[in-house]
C-alpha cells in the first residue's frame, strides 16, 4: 500500500482501532497526520453539535467541513474553522443566498468532478496528497490564467476562503487568536501604548 492510496476509510478505521503496531498510520507521512487530525475534529464536532445542514446535502456538507478546516486548520495555538463554527455559518448564509448556492453548491460539484477525472474518486475519497494537489491548483488565481479549465474552481475556492475567514475570525477563538482586547468599558481611553518607532 502506497501512501497516496490511504483513504479516509483507512484512516478512520485505523484510528478507531487505536495505534496498533504495523497499522497504516505508522506509514503515512506528516501531512496525512494533519489530515487525520482534521478528520477527528470534524467527526467530533459533527457528533457534538448534531448539526443538520440547511442547504448542503450530507456529502457536500462533509466536503465543505473538510475544506474549511483545511483553509484555516487547528494548530498548536488554537482550534480551526470547524471549532469556530465556520461550516454552520457558511451553510446558513448559503441557504439564504442564491448566488452562494450557485457558487458554493456548484463549486463543490465541480471539485468532485475534477477529482473524479484526475484521481477516480470524489474529493473526500482522494488521498491527502491528491487533495493537496487539486487545492494547490485552485487556491491561486495565476493557475487559472495558465489553465482556463481551473477557473470555476479558483472562483469557488476564493469565495469559500473569504467566508471561512469570516466564520473563523468572528468566532471566540478567532477573536482571541488575533488578540483583540476591546469591547469593554473603560473610564478613560489610554491612547496608543509606547511602541518603539511610532
Amino acid at each position: 500500500m502506497t501512501e497516496e492510496l490511504v483513504s479516509r476509510r483507512d484512516v478512520l478505521k485505523t484510528l478507531s482501532m487505536g495505534a496498533v503496531a504495523g497499522s497504516v498510520l505508522q506509514v503515512i507521512p506528516l501531512h496525512a497526520a494533519e489530515y487525520a487530525h482534521a478528520l477527528i475534529e470534524a467527526e467530533r464536532a459533527n457528533k457534538a453539535v448534531g448539526y443538520v445542514a440547511k442547504f448542503f446535502p450530507p456529502h457536500q456538507y462533509r466536503t465543505l467541513r473538510m475544506l474549511c478546516e483545511t483553509i484555516l486548520p487547528a494548530d498548536a495555538e488554537c482550534g480551526g474553522a470547524i471549532e469556530a463554527g465556520a461550516p454552520e455559518f457558511i451553510d446558513l448564509l448559503t441557504s439564504e443566498n442564491s448566488e452562494y448556492q450557485l457558487k458554493l453548491g456548484g463549486g463543490l460539484m465541480w471539485l468532485d468532478d475534477a477529482c473524479a477525472d484526475r484521481y477516480g474518486g470524489t474529493y473526500l475519497e482522494c488521498a491527502p496528497q491528491q487533495q493537496k494537489e487539486i487545492l494547490d491548483l485552485i487556491a491561486y488565481r495565476k493557475n487559472a490564467s495558465i489553465d482556463e479549465s481551473l477557473r470555476p474552481g479558483v472562483e469557488f475556492f476564493s469565495l469559500l476562503r473569504n467566508l471561512t475567514s469570516d466564520g473563523f475570525f468572528t468566532s471566540k477563538i478567532g477573536i482571541e487568536y488575533v488578540g483583540y482586547l476591546g469591547n469593554t468599558f473603560l473610564m478613560d481611553f489610554p491612547g496608543c501604548p509606547p511602541v518603539p518607532g511610532l
Binding site: L72, G85, F89, S158, S171, C192
Partner: protein
C-alpha cells in the same frame, strides 16, 4: 353623528420627522410652552432592546453579515442601530434614465441620528457666502454670525468634543476634551505634519464628560450600533426625552405623512397621514407645521401636497422644491502600514469614530478646483468582523496555517481614508415625483436625477492624490482600489455619503427659493422646514450639527411668532 370637527384636537405645532431637525424643534418648541405633536414614519425606539451594543459577532448566527450576507461589507450590517436601508420594502424610489442615485432612509424614532457618524462640524463664514466668494452657487440669506449662537446652544446641550485650533473657515465650537489618539492616528498625524496637512482632534458629538444626566463615553467604539447609555448624541435619546418631559409632547409612531392639507385661505391646517398598522388614513391638525422628514422626503411631502391653491405642491410657486439636490463628494483609499504589525495587542477601541481628522487645510489658496474637502480616516485593531480578511485572502491566497498566521499578522494594519467634499449645486441634480409610481401607501414616489459637475470630479482626483501621499509618506502601501462596497470610480455614487441637502432651499427672493431666512415657506406662512432641505450650499462639513443649529433658530422664530399671536 357627533361633529368630529368640532371636537378635534388642534395642536400648536405638528412636526413631521423625529431626526436631528425634528427632535431639536420638539425640544425647543415644547420647552417654549407649545403643544407639539410629532409624526414618525417608523416605530418607537427601545435602545435596550434595539441596540446591539457590546454584542460579539459569534453571538449572532449570521455573525454580522445579516440574512443571506446582505449586510456583508455594507453600512447597514446586522450590528448597526435600527436605522433603515438603501431599499425599503414597499417604499421604492426611482432614478431617471442616465442617473444613478441611492437614498438611505430611516424609519424609526430618531431617524438616522441613531447610527450617524457623530461628526459635528460647524459651517464656516465663507460657506454662507459662496456666490460672493467665487461666483458659483448662491449665498445663504443668513450669515455665519447669525447662526453661531445656535451652534453654541446645540454644542452646549448635546456635548461635542474637540479643540480650539483657529483653522480658517472651520470654526471652533464649545468643546469637551478630546480622547487621546490611537496608534493609527499617531502615524497619520506624523505624516500629515511632514506634508503640511492640518491634522487635529476630531469634533464628534460624543461625551467625554458627563452632561445633563448622560454619562461619559466608555470607549467601546460602537456608536454606530447605538449607545444604550446615550453617551453619544441621538435625537431619540437626547432631544425627544426633553420634549416628553414637558408634558406637552405627543409622538405618533408608524405614521407616514401623505400630504399637508391647506384650508381655503391657503394656510396649512392638517397633515394627512397613513396609520401603517391599520393602513387607514388619518389627519392631525395644528396651527403650524415643521417639516423635518429629511431633505428628499420633505421635498416629496411638499410636492405631494397639491391642491387648487398649490397645483405644483405646497411652498412651490418658485418651482424650487426638489431642485439643487446635493450630496457630499466622497472618495476613499486604504493603505497597509507594516509598522502596525509590531504594535502589541492592546485595547484600540476608543470612541465610535476617528479621534483625529484633517479639516480643509488649503482654504484661500489657489487650487485647481473650487471649495474644499476634509479627510476622515480610521482603521487598526477594531473588533474583527466579516470581510476583515478579504484583502489578505486576495493578496496571500493559498490556505492552511500560513494563511491563518498571515491574517493574524495583518490584523489591524489597514488605515482607510475618506474625503468629504463640497458639491456645487447644479441643474442636473434634483428630485421630482415619478409620474407613474406610488409606494405601498399609494403615495407618489421620488424620481432622482443626478450628475456630478467637473469641479467635483477634480476634487475627487485631488483626494486620491492626497490619500496616496499621506499613505506613502507614513511608510504604508496603497491597497488597490476604493474600499467601500458599491464604489467603483474615484468619486462616490450620488447619495451614498448620505448627506442629501438643498431640495427646499432658503433665500431672500421668493422666485428662486422656497423658504425665507427663517426657513418659513414664502408661500405658506405656517409651514417651516427644519432638516437639510433649506441648505443653500453643502460645505465640506457634515450637515447634522448645522441641521440642529438651524432648526433651533427656526424654532425660536416660530416661538416668537406664537407669542406674538401670529400663528
Amino acid at each position: 353623528m357627533p361633529n368630529l370637527n368640532a371636537r378635534r384636537t388642534v395642536y400648536d405645532v405638528c412636526i413631521i420627522g423625529s431626526g436631528a431637525g425634528g427632535g431639536t424643534a420638539a425640544k425647543v418648541l415644547t420647552e417654549g410652552g407649545l403643544n407639539v405633536v410629532m409624526l414618525e414614519a417608523g416605530p418607537r425606539l427601545n435602545p435596550e432592546k434595539d441596540f446591539k451594543e457590546h454584542v460579539w459577532p459569534y453571538e449572532l448566527a449570521h455573525r454580522g453579515a445579516d440574512i443571506g450576507a446582505r449586510g456583508r461589507l455594507q453600512l447597514n450590517n446586522e450590528f448597526m442601530a435600527p436605522n433603515g436601508f438603501w431599499d425599503i420594502e414597499g417604499e421604492p424610489y426611482t432614478t431617471a434614465p442616465g442617473s444613478t442615485f441611492r437614498w438611505f432612509r430611516s424609519r424609526i424614532e430618531g431617524g438616522r441620528t441613531n447610527h450617524w457618524g457623530r461628526i459635528a462640524l460647524r459651517f464656516g463664514p465663507a460657506d454662507f457666502k459662496a456666490r460672493s466668494t467665487d461666483g458659483m452657487g448662491d449665498d445663504w440669506p443668513i450669515t455665519y454670525e447669525e447662526l453661531a449662537p445656535y451652534y453654541d446652544k446645540v454644542e452646549s446641550f448635546i456635548g461635542v468634543f474637540g479643540t480650539k485650533e483657529n483653522v480658517p473657515n472651520s470654526p471652533d465650537g464649545v468643546f469637551m476634551p478630546p480622547p487621546k489618539p490611537r496608534c493609527t492616528e499617531t502615524i497619520v498625524k506624523q505624516a500629515c505634519d511632514s506634508l503640511n496637512i492640518t491634522c487635529i482632534p476630531s469634533r464628534l458629538a460624543i461625551l467625554t464628560k458627563p452632561l445633563n444626566g448622560r454619562p461619559a463615553c466608555h470607549y467601546c467604539a460602537q456608536c454606530g450600533r447605538g449607545c444604550i447609555s446615550a453617551a453619544n448624541f441621538s435625537s431619540s435619546q437626547v432631544m425627544i426625552p426633553m420634549a416628553q418631559a414637558t408634558g406637552r409632547f405627543t409622538l405618533i409612531a408608524n405614521a407616514m405623512a401623505r400630504e399637508i392639507v391647506a384650508d381655503k385661505s391657503g394656510k396649512a391646517e392638517a397633515v394627512s397621514y397613513i396609520d401603517k398598522p391599520t393602513r387607514s388614513e388619518r389627519r392631525v391638525y395644528a396651527k403650524a407645521f415643521v417639516v423635518a422628514a429629511s431633505a428628499c422626503e420633505s421635498a416629496r411631502l411638499l410636492l405631494n401636497s397639491r391642491s387648487a391653491s398649490f397645483p405644483d405642491g405646497m411652498a412651490n410657486s418658485s418651482g424650487m422644491v426638489g431642485r439643487y439636490l446635493m450630496d457630499s463628494v466622497g472618495s476613499s483609499l486604504a493603505g497597509y502600514f507594516p509598522q502596525l504589525e509590531k504594535v502589541p495587542a492592546h485595547n484600540h477601541d476608543g470612541v465610535g469614530g476617528m479621534h483625529m481628522y484633517m479639516p480643509w487645510w488649503r482654504f484661500g489658496r489657489k487650487n485647481d478646483f473650487l471649495r474644499g474637502y476634509h479627510i476622515e480616516f480610521g482603521g487598526g485593531r477594531h473588533m474583527p468582523g466579516v470581510g476583515m480578511c478579504d484583502w489578505v485572502c486576495a493578496e496571500h491566497e493559498g490556505y492552511g496555517t500560513g494563511l491563518k498566521q498571515k491574517c493574524r499578522s495583518s490584523y489591524g494594519t489597514i488605515i482607510g481614508f475618506s474625503g468629504r467634499g463640497e458639491m456645487i449645486p447644479n441643474e442636473k441634480s434634483y428630485c421630482d415625483l415619478d409620474p407613474s409610481v406610488v409606494d405601498r401607501w399609494g403615495i407618489p414616489v421620488l424620481r432622482f436625477h443626478w450628475g456630478w459637475g467637473e469641479n467635483e470630479l477634480k476634487m475627487a482626483k485631488d483626494m486620491q492624490e492626497t490619500f496616496r501621499s499621506i499613505i506613502e509618506s507614513a511608510g504604508g502601501t496603497v491597497l488597490g482600489g476604493p474600499i467601500r462596497a458599491g464604489q467603483t470610480a474615484a468619486i462616490s455614487e450620488g447619495g451614498t455619503i448620505i448627506h442629501e441637502m438643498g431640495t427646499v432651499r432658503m433665500g431672500n427672493d421668493a422666485k428662486t427659493s422656497a423658504l425665507n431666512s427663517n426657513c418659513q415657506a414664502h408661500d405658506v406662512k405656517n409651514v417651516f422646514v427644519a432638516d437639510a432641505a433649506p441648505f443653500v450650499t453643502n460645505p465640506d462639513k457634515n450637515p447634522t450639527l448645522s441641521i440642529m443649529a438651524l432648526s433651533w433658530r427656526t424654532s425660536e422664530y416660530l416661538l416668537d411668532q406664537a407669542r406674538k399671536g401670529e400663528l
